[in-house]
Amino acid sequence: MALDKATVARIAALARIKVPDAELDALAGDLSKILTWVEQLDAVDVAGVEPMTAVTHARPPLRDDKVTDGGIRDKILANAPETTNGFFVVPKVVE
């Protein structure tokens, strides 16, 4: 599958990654090459095959409904670029 610049731009927007226009062509080339390469899977017949979503089949123990965490606001906020009064702060979201 050859991706055009517009598709790459759309995917980049979906992934929230700014790609300078100057790089779009080269990137489209790289991605197209990789996608074309992985399309060799088209040759495989997977009729009736269940997709493999998990490697382990052991049923893992679940968590009990106990409060064992939280109450560590300072640790939660310590690495944040911007905080105020215990909140994370981001540029205003326009609703």
Partner: protein, 484 residues
């Protein structure tokens, strides 16, 4: 009654489906050990898992699974022994991981149903499409700063049940009845507080209109309406709006809308317009959820009696009307209250006192049954005083009012005010003679055939005895004397 809405090109059918987000009652979050309590200081109930720190992993809360399955059983729904958690990918500041862990293709609960009791006594069955478990997001505060948004992750990761109905609802009234019934079921089960005002039950409404029997129209989704009243208003407004658009030759655009409770209108959420591509895929951090059939059977066996079953039992065992039974089972507490009052007493009398006198008084006070100043046994005692003839129905109402006001017991009030009903024939006879002596001409009229005057004489005697005389005895005596 007709479910159709009149437009100037004729009648329209409104098609409504509801998506309810019900917050699961649990101590800890769906995938972390942080607390779920409401109203804590910002970011104090957040673990490094909830804040999606590097290398943090989700581990499923067993109890939340149990709550979802219980709810599924309460909705008479298919329980899926294998279900899968998927990632719903999108960027938002209060969604720390950049994806919400939800269930997409394989939810834990499948098709079920809810039965509505309509005000006119009829019943309506509404299909449930599915119920799935998912994480709540955090809270974004947009009004704290002119150019910034503040983010609190306390709610991030709290367990929600998304309950999706079939588009089976046809009127705002039905939608209201559906939400009330769903609320009752969730509360009976103890799986959700179902308090829309507090936000632990939220509703998205899918509304479309069509000519009766025609093909489904384009639907609009009204997001996050936060009270049953508003849901009903929003649906009525939206239906009218869509009919207007079509009748004016326009087309309804599929979109997400918001209900403005102040203006009572819905408006388009342009910001949500850019088409989403959520890139759902099975969460590789979580293995499929597998339920043990034995465990499921036990859960089913231990399920509490639900509103519909209770209502049927009240009608069958207490011989109450469908309407009264419906009123009594609306809340688990009122049903329990009634059963305590009715124990060893006349159930119809008990039902009347609870549904008419008690509910009426509580309404005036704006109190819930749990906050009632009169206890079930207290009301029972009052009814006993009527049964043993101590109080007439009329006196009993006065006593009840006093009980509500003061919280005193019926017996205390009777003793205090000497309200004990007079049943001594001698006393009543004196009073009767006195009344008749005062009104010779009315007595003559009565004897002349104006038998309606009997009621007047009874009233006079009751007045003379400050209402304490036993009305039955008074009647009997008067008839005898007037005949004589």
């Amino acid at each position: 009654m007709s479910n159709l809405v009149k437009g100037h090109t004729g009648e329209w059918e409104v098609v409504i489906g509801l998506e309810v987000h019900a917050q699961v009652i649990s101590k800890a979050k769906l995938f972390s050990g942080a607390a779920t309590d409401f109203g804590a200081e910002p970011n104090t109930q957040v673990s490094t898992v909830d804040a999606a720190f590097p290398g943090m992993l989700p581990v499923l809360n067993r109890f939340c699974v149990e709550q979802a399955v219980k709810t599924g059983l309460g909705l008479d729904a298919q329980i899926n022994l294998q279900s899968v958690f998927d990632r719903k990918n999108y960027f938002y500041p209060d969604l720390p991981a950049g994806y919400q862990i939800s269930q997409f293709s394989r939810p834990i609960v499948g098709k079920g149903k809810v039965v509505l009791d309509m005000p006119d006594g009829t019943a309506r069955e509404v299909g449930i499409t599915r119920l799935h478990l998912e994480q709540d997001a955090g809270k974004s505060l947009h009004d704290q700063h002119p150019s910034k948004t503040y983010v609190d992750l306390n709610r991030a990761g709290v367990a929600l049940m998304e309950i999706v109905s079939e588009p089976d609802l046809r009127t705002a009234e039905e939608a209201g009845a559906y939400l009330r019934k769903l609320r009752a079921i969730l509360r009976y089960l103890g799986t959700c507080d179902a308090n829309m005002e507090e936000g632990n039950m939220r509703c998205d409404c899918n509304v479309s209109v069509r000519k009766p029997g025609g093909a489904l129209g384009t639907r609009c989704e009204i997001k996050n309406v936060n009270s049953i009243r508003f849901v009903m208003q929003a649906i009525d407004y939206e239906a009218r709006r869509q009919i207007g658009v079509i009748e004016d030759g326009g087309k309804v655009v599929q979109e997400t809308r918001l209900f403005d409770s102040g203006k009572g209108v819905t408006r388009s959420m342009r910001s949500k317009e850019e088409s989403h591509d959520y890139r759902y895929f099975p969460d590789p951090d979580l293995l499929p959820v597998t339920l043990d059939p034995a465990w499921l059977a036990k859960l089913k066996a231990d399920l509490p009696e639900l509103p519909d079953a209770k209502k049927a039992r009240f009608m069958r065992d207490y011989k109450l009307s469908a309407y009264d039974s419906g009123l009594l089972v609306g809340e688990r507490e009122s049903a329990a209250f009634f059963e305590t009052v009715a124990k060893g007493r006349d159930p119809k009398l008990a039902s009347n006192w609870v549904t008419v006198e008690l509910f009426g008084a509580l309404n005036k006070l704006g109190k819930t049954i749990a906050e009632s100043p009169v206890s079930a046994s207290g009301l029972g005692d009052l009814i006993d005083l009527i049964a043993d003839g101590t109080l007439s129905g009329r006196l009993a109402k006065d006593v009840f009012a006093e009980m509500i006001a003061s919280g005193k017991t019926a017996r205390a009030i009777v003793a205090e005010k000497g309200l004990k009903q007079v049943t001594d024939a001698g006393e009543i006879e004196t009073a009767t003679d006195a009344v008749l002596a005062k009104e010779p001409d009315k007595v003559a009229d009565y004897r002349g055939g104006k038998e309606k005057l009997l009621a007047y004489f009874v009233g006079q005697v009751m007045k003379a005895t400050q209402g304490k005389a036993n009305p039955a005895l008074v009647n009997e005596l008067l008839k005898k004397k007037l005949a004589g």
